[in-house]
């Protein structure tokens, strides 16, 4: 691309942002741009180069995993005091309940690591990493139903239509790898027979940003990326020839019309060809040693499980994919929580710990921000009948827990605190916007300045909110 073309391309192909989206703007020619170039325009020196978001869809119970409330045990089956409940609106599923009986967690908590972080017996593997984690017990949100809550978690707004976090990062930072998408999403289905909430394609959508920023979903099928493989009867050689033909024909068009979009299209077909080689290499786990699979646990040998996706996430991180988002469904435990949460932890605990271990081993934890969590919390009172060994929990937006690890994060630290019932936050509340502002900060981006003009307004991931949570930063 000559000078004039590139300039034209910049103007035509983007509704960019001040200064920092250079790498994205130049994405088709990212090869020509040294990596240091990306960081030159950032607002802060970045701690993290990439984000690995382990999204637990359906809302895991903070009371049974992260937020110990031993004082609740004697209150078994007593009513949650109305003064605690306050004016919190309830879902239609429990709004009709006559009683709100306190359901103390069945699971034991104990201190872990040097830091003594208290974690549930459901997370024996994650607990070994307590000294690497920063646990936030004071997350909160407004939404009380899954779809709006997940949409808020993903896009900073309850109603669909805005770009997801990964799309913003792709837009702001561009790619580190010329052969793979910038933003990859992986969805797993739980092994247990549990209720799995749906996920909308827009969860990793680009909203009003150009489509190239949308997350690309990797699947465990023969086409890990949609339409990736050449069809039967078209060999890779034949495809290479075809693309050469196409490039020649398109070059003629370019010389006739001088349209920079034609140049862009030639580049996109070439990137598609490179992806055809890079993605299968990425998805091919046959060279991973047996001990790796052992570390991730038995499910990791089954394609498409959370464990297999964790292993894939490490491979993606190694290859410089900027934003990797896993989704594990099945945490919506309105009833039979003790049974179902065990099954969910079986799916996720060991693989998550193995992923942390592998990142650490390879030095990737230094510049990767790992986030683990769901869209809201669960109630301290039981939904439906409470027995000594069974209970359910409804949706609870007022407090929940997530943890972060890796780049720029304070290790072995607990941030925020909830009341004796894990119903209200008593110290250091962190809204999803604050979390997002902090994550962007770690990437070197000032969240108020990563904006995109749409319908006359400068939109951003954090809407008009968001404060950096200094307490979680190293």
């Amino acid at each position: 691309m000559n000078r004039v073309d590139r300039k034209t391309f910049l103007i035509r192909a983007t509704h960019g942002l001040g200064g920092i989206a250079l790498a994205t703007l130049l994405q088709p020619h990212a090869r020509a741009v040294p990596p240091s170039r990306e960081t030159r325009g950032l607002h802060f020196p970045p701690k993290a180069k990439r984000i690995l978001w382990l999204t637990q869809s359906g809302a895991p119970s903070q009371l049974d995993l992260f937020d110990p409330k031993p004082a609740l045990s004697p209150l078994f089956n007593q009513d949650l005091p109305p003064s605690v409940r306050g004016e919190q609106r309830l879902t239609g599923m429990t709004a009709g309940q006559k009683r709100f009986p306190i359901a103390p967690s069945l699971f034991r908590f104990s201190p872990h690591g040097q830091c003594g972080m208290s974690l549930s017996e459901l997370l024996p593997h994650t607990a070994k990493w307590a000294d690497e984690l920063c646990l936030i017990r004071s997350m909160h949100t407004e939404a009380i139903n899954h779809d709006p809550a997940m949409t808020l978690l993903q896009t900073g707004h309850q109603i669909g239509g805005r770009p997801s976090f990964g799309a913003w990062v792709s837009y702001g930072l561009g790619s580190e790898n010329d052969n793979l998408p910038t933003f990859v999403a992986l969805v797993s289905t739980p092994s247990g027979n549990v209720n799995s909430q749906p996920l909308h394609e827009r969860m990793w959508g680009a909203g009003f940003l150009p489509a190239r920023h949308q997350g690309v979903r990797f699947t465990p099928t023969k086409d890990p990326v949609l339409y990736l493989n050449n069809p039967p009867g078209i060999s890779r050689t034949l495809r290479r020839h075809q693309l050469d033909d196409l490039a020649k024909l398109n070059a003629l068009t370019l010389s006739e019309y001088h349209d920079p979009e034609t140049r862009n299209r030639i580049d996109q077909f070439e990137m598609a060809f490179r992806m055809q080689a890079a993605v299968p290499e990425l998805a091919d786990l046959s060279n991973e040693p047996a001990r790796t699979f052992d570390a991730y646990g038995p499910e990791s040998r089954k394609p498409g499980t959370y464990a297999a996706n964790c292993l894939m996430a490490r491979r993606l991180a190694e290859r410089g994919v900027r934003f990797i988002q896993l989704y594990h469904r099945g945490w919506d435990q309105h009833g039979n929580l003790p049974r179902d949460i065990r099954s969910q932890c079986y799916d996720t605990d060991q693989p998550t710990a193995a992923l942390l271990a592998e990142l650490k081993e390879r030095g990737l934890l230094e510049d990767t921000l790992v986030i683990w969590g769901g869209e809201f919390g669960r109630t301290t009172y039981s939904q439906g009948t409470l027995t000594q060994d069974n209970y359910g929990r409804d949706h609870h937006p007022r407090c929940f827990s997530i943890w972060m690890a890796g780049a720029g994060i304070q290790k072995g630290h607990v941030h925020g605190e909830t009341d004796d019932f894990s119903y209200n936050i008593v110290r250091d509340p962190v809204h999803i916007h604050d979390l997002n502002a902090t994550a962007l900060h770690l990437l070197g981006i000032e969240h108020t300045r990563l904006t995109h003009r749409f319908q006359g307004r400068d939109y951003r991931l954090t809407d008009v909110h968001g404060e950096i949570v200094k307490g979680v930063l190293a």
Binding site: P198, H200, P231, L249, L252, R265, H452
Partner: protein
């Protein structure tokens, strides 16, 4: 970058380059709006230092701006300040004025700081087309406006595109399909001066015009085939989509088009079609998730209508004033809720009804007449009448049995005996066995769960069985959809024939009956109150005799989406079938006849009739026929429509937009800043619609012609076609925009005429080659010194390939179709439990080849090939699609079976229609695809490729066969396989060319 760009844009597009007089609208407002209005604008709550800069009065009242006196203007001093505490805009805002912007402001203040009302809100002014030097260039009144601007910039327009290019451009633009070779040849051989106009008229008359014009409207109207949100179940709205196609094809004037969609139901004696049209404002999403709060979503639906209507007709971003007064534009929160009052009176439910069929789940719904179904229905209805008559006849016979039946009703009640469950098996439902009962619990999800329990009765005969449920603790709701009993005798399993009984039961027979049908998908909620029992009773057609009692019974209960815990058990009775009546009947029977009221006598008679074996047959037939009629009713296509409630809901300003924080009550009213609604207009949706299309309205015509312009030129004269407010971009050609708007109104809102005007202009007919010199100066072609060139939409790309291959089935309208789709997507993303589509079931046959506009649109999982090309999700109103190029598009075009099959059939046409030599075939294919002949260089590239690929397939005949096996429809078996395979790869190359993917 964005601000930089808009500055580049405004420098380029305004008079600034010419140092002519500054215009507030063109030059000043964009700077002030973007940098100052957020704190010094229209919203008083957000206003800082009590200073507003959006009006002359506000700006000059306290010397912020002193017209003509730069140094006395405090605002200017603050702009220049280098004190971070003083400087404006403040550093915290991340806004910064460039020196060029400062210069413009300086000149403006020096020149007297003249304000103008916002250009979009002032009346439309019809200017006389300006005079131009290149006097023979203009072909219609559009052109002088464009040319005058170009001449001011010193740029010459581009030459006209070749006839070939032009015909392909206009055919794709008007029908979304490429021209056929026959159409091309006819056009090329027509040397009359009006050949092009004639072609345009032919295209405007094509039924495919309406299909293509409908597409942007469907985006705007957020049309989809599912309800969205979490459950995202199917809905039926396609009759509305077909209405849109017809309206465009019949060239319905835009004012009528508006009125019918916003308020067709309120017209005097509305026709069916006018009522279907109102579906426009029912296209929003509907939430069927369990546990939602209905009021929250009622507020959401009405807000969606306000925002969509304001965006589509007013070009305004009303979503901003849902929570507070607009920061940039003169719209208040009161305006928002006053508009909402028009849209808040639909007799609808906030929460969707998941139990209902997709075509009846969200009333008000309009059922459409279908003659075929009508005749079936009337047959069934007459059957029913006959059955009832025969029943009556049987009953009119003297019935000596009645009095002896009464005599025999000796017992006090039906004796029930509890059957203990021995084992239970659950199918997804948490269950446990406790004291011979099954305890089962909460299953919030939406799947069809069940449990089966085994019991071994010890007494016989069994003449009836009842299922008894009681909540285990709290109240519970158990949504039951299935009940069956199977007798297990050794290896033999026999389902028992059951009939719902009318006694000692909690639900009417009509409701219980469907539970016995296999595959029933409509659960019925049983609300179980704490401490109370509910029961369902079933008679056995043939009593289970004592001798059969080595038999075990397997009892299965199916359910979905429960709340609370329920304890279930079953009971059996040996009561003589004639004495299976309720306790109240036993009591009545004891009462002497003379003491019974007429009503009581009738109750007895009904109970007697229910036991009569001779009525059993006929009653079953009556029930079956009634059900058939109900099922038939559900087969009628339906479309959601707008209606008004008899007494309207109250509407309140919602504090910060929160549905549960009502503030002041408001009434239907149009936004205060716009010309008022005439007093004689009704204060309802009809009045609102008439107001929108009244000739004095400053926005509707401007906004609409601008979107039409955008459709053909890729960008509107106002680039921000969704925002005609202060933050939007000023028009590149303000006089042209106004002229077009006034022309639109003058011609009676004639859409085809407006489209014709645009595509027959010299401006549209220019070649789209980018002259390198201009290219860098005007990359977005805002000056219109060349014709439009951009990538075709997702829909047009696929339709083009189908048309070129000859596979296209051009039938118009009807229910959505499900063409090829990659596997596994629904399985991964759809809920595991909700009653929604969990698998994409691909169609076969003609449905694979319909136009893309008919492809099933699931909001949570739109077709991936469409998403790759940047289609919206259709969750909310979309007025512009972003255009972007991605590798996923390349992968789709190269590898999707849709394009492979189209390539195969394009190749087949090249072989069968193109001639006998390879070159002839290649030339033919090239010309079909691009409406022009290949250059020798292009042909040489294609030829070499063909020879190479043919050689490859000759070496690998299996590869050729594999390639030809892509897609459902088999190729012509008489054609040489290797030739066809090689040509298929060439057809694929042709379909992937940049020129093919673009409108040129």
């Amino acid at each position: 970058m964005n601000r930089l760009l808009s500055l580049l844009g405004s420098l380029l597009l305004t008079n600034a380059l010419h140092a002519a007089e500054l215009s507030y609208n063109q030059d000043i407002r964009p700077i002030l709006s973007d940098n100052c209005f957020y704190c010094h604008g229209f919203d008083p709550k957000n206003r800082k230092a009590d200073l507003r800069l959006d009006t002359f009065e506000g700006a000059t009242a306290n010397g912020a701006i002193v017209p003509g006196h730069l140094s006395k203007s405090e605002a200017w001093n603050r702009i220049l300040s280098d004190d971070p505490e003083e400087v404006m805009p403040p550093p915290k805002s991340h806004k910064k004025l460039t020196s060029a912007q400062k210069d413009v402001l300086r000149r403006w203040i020096e020149g007297g700081a003249k304000y103008e009302p916002h250009w979009a809100f002032v009346p439309i002014r019809r200017a006389v087309p300006p005079s131009v030097s290149l006097a023979d260039w203009p072909m219609n009144p559009i052109d002088p406006f464009v040319l005058a601007r170009l001449e001011r910039e010193g740029i010459a327009p581009s030459p006209a595109a070749s006839k070939e290019t032009l015909l392909r451009r206009v055919t794709l633009d008007l029908t979304g399909l490429p021209p056929t070779l026959r159409e091309l040849d006819a056009f090329l051989s027509d040397s009359s001066p009006n050949a092009y106009e004639a072609a345009v008229d032919r295209l405007l008359a094509s039924p495919h015009y309406g299909e293509h014009m409908a597409l942007p409207w469907l985006d705007a109207a957020r049309y989809a085939d599912t309800n969205g949100y979490q459950v995202d179940r199917d809905r039926e709205m396609w009759p509305w989509r077909d209405w849109v196609i017809q309206a465009f094809n019949q060239n319905q004037p835009f004012d009528q088009f508006t009125i019918e969609q916003l308020a067709g139901d309120l017209l005097p004696n509305p026709t069916l079609s006018q009522r279907i049209a109102t579906g426009f404002n029912r296209n929003h999403m509907i939430n069927e998730e369990g546990g939602i709060i209905p009021e929250e979503f009622l507020a959401e639906y009405a807000a969606d209508r306000v925002e969509t209507t304001a965006a589509v007709w007013l070009g305004q971003t009303f979503n901003c004033c849902r929570c507070h007064d607009h920061k940039y534009d003169p719209f208040t929160q009161r305006d928002f809720y006053s508009l909402k009052a028009f849209f808040h009176n639909v007799p609808e439910q906030g929460a969707g009804n998941r139990a209902a069929k997709p075509n009846a789940s969200a009333p008000p719904v309009l059922k459409l007449p279908v003659p075929e179904l009508d005749s079936k229905k009337s047959t069934l209805e007459s059957d029913l009448a006959q059955l009832q008559a025969s029943r009556q006849q049987i009953l009119s016979q003297p019935s000596p049995g009645f009095s002896s039946w009464i005599q025999n009703l000796r017992s006090e009640t039906v004796p029930w005996e509890r059957l203990h469950f021995q084992t239970v098996e659950n199918h997804g439902l948490p269950t446990e066995l406790a004291e011979g009962a099954v305890k089962t619990g909460i299953q919030v999800g939406d799947d069809f769960w069940s449990f089966s329990a085994i019991t071994a009765p010890t007494h016989g005969p069994i003449t009836a069985i009842r299922l008894v449920g009681e909540p285990d603790g709290e109240d519970a709701t158990f949504r039951i959809h299935r009940f069956d009993v199977t007798a297990i005798h050794g290896e033999t399993q026999t389902p028992l024939k059951l009939r719902p009984a009318e006694f000692e039961t909690s639900l009417p027979i009509k409701v219980i009956q469907p539970l016995l049908k296999t595959g029933n998908r409509a659960p019925h909620p049983l609300r179980l109150k704490s401490g109370k029992r509910e029961s369902l009773v079933f008679r056995l057609d043939t009593p289970l005799e004592a001798k059969d009692l080595a038999t075990k019974l397997r009892i299965t209960v199916g359910t979905r989406a429960n709340t609370g815990w329920v304890r279930w058990h079953v009971e059996a009775t040996s009561q003589d079938p004639a004495q299976l009546v309720s306790t109240s009947i036993f009591t009545l029977a004891k009462k002497p006849e003379e003491n019974r009221t007429i009503h009581e006598q009738k109750l007895l008679k009904d109970a007697y009739e229910a036991t009569l074996p001779e009525l059993r047959g006929i009653d079953e037939k009556i029930l079956a026929t009634t059900q058939q009629i109900e099922e038939l009713d559900l087969q009628y296509p339906a479309s959601m429509v707008m209606e008004e409630m008899a007494s309207p809901r109250d509407t309140f300003i919602l504090v910060r937009g929160a549905y549960d924080k009502p503030g002041e009550k408001v009434f239907p009213a149009t936004p205060a800043i716009l010309p008022p609604m005439p007093a004689q207009f009704p204060k309802n949706r009809l009045g609102l619609a008439e107001w929108l299309v009244s000739p004095e309205h400053p926005l509707t015509a401007r906004v609409t012609v601008n979107r039409l312009w955008q459709q053909f030129f890729g960008s509107g004269l106002v680039k921000t076609s969704e925002d005609f407010g202060a933050q939007g971009e000023a028009p590149s050609h303000p006089e042209l925009l106004d002229w077009l708007a006034s022309e639109f109104i003058r011609t009676g809102w004639d859409v085809k005429q407006m489209v014709r005007l645009i595509v027959t202009s010299a401006t549209y007919r220019q070649t789209s080659h980018i002259p390198t010199a201009i290219g860098s100066k005007d990359p977005e072609n805002r000056l219109l010194a060349r014709g439009p060139r951009f990538r075709l939409t997702a829909e047009t790309l696929r339709d083009q390939a189908l048309a070129l291959s000859g596979l296209l089935v051009p039938r118009i309208g009807g229910p959505p179709v499900r063409p090829y789709h990659p596997e596994g997507i629904y399985e991964t993303l759809a809920p595991t439990s909700a009653d929604t589509v969990k698998r994409y079931i691909q169609d076969h046959g003609e449905a694979l080849y319909r136009r893309t506009l008919y492809t099933y649109w699931k909001r949570s999982i739109p077709h991936p090939a469409m998403l790759a090309f940047g289609t919206p999700f259709r969750e909310t109103c979309t007025l512009q699609r972003p255009r972007s190029n991605t590798p996923l598009q390349a992968l789709n075009l190269m590898n999707d079976v849709t394009y492979l099959e189209a390539s195969r059939f394009l190749a087949q046409r090249m072989m069968t229609e193109g001639g006998s030599t390879v070159d002839e075939r290649l030339k033919y294919g090239f010309r079909m695809v691009l409406s022009r002949h290949p250059s020798p260089t292009q042909l040489a590239i294609l030829r070499a490729a063909f020879d190479r690929n043919l050689a490859s397939y000759k070496r690998d005949p299996a590869g050729a066969s594999a390639l030809l096996a892509n897609g459902d429809r088999p190729s012509d078996p008489t054609l040489d396989r290797q030739d066809l395979a090689a040509l298929t790869t060439l057809a694929s190359t042709l379909l992937c060319m940049d020129e093919t993917l673009s409108k040129n």
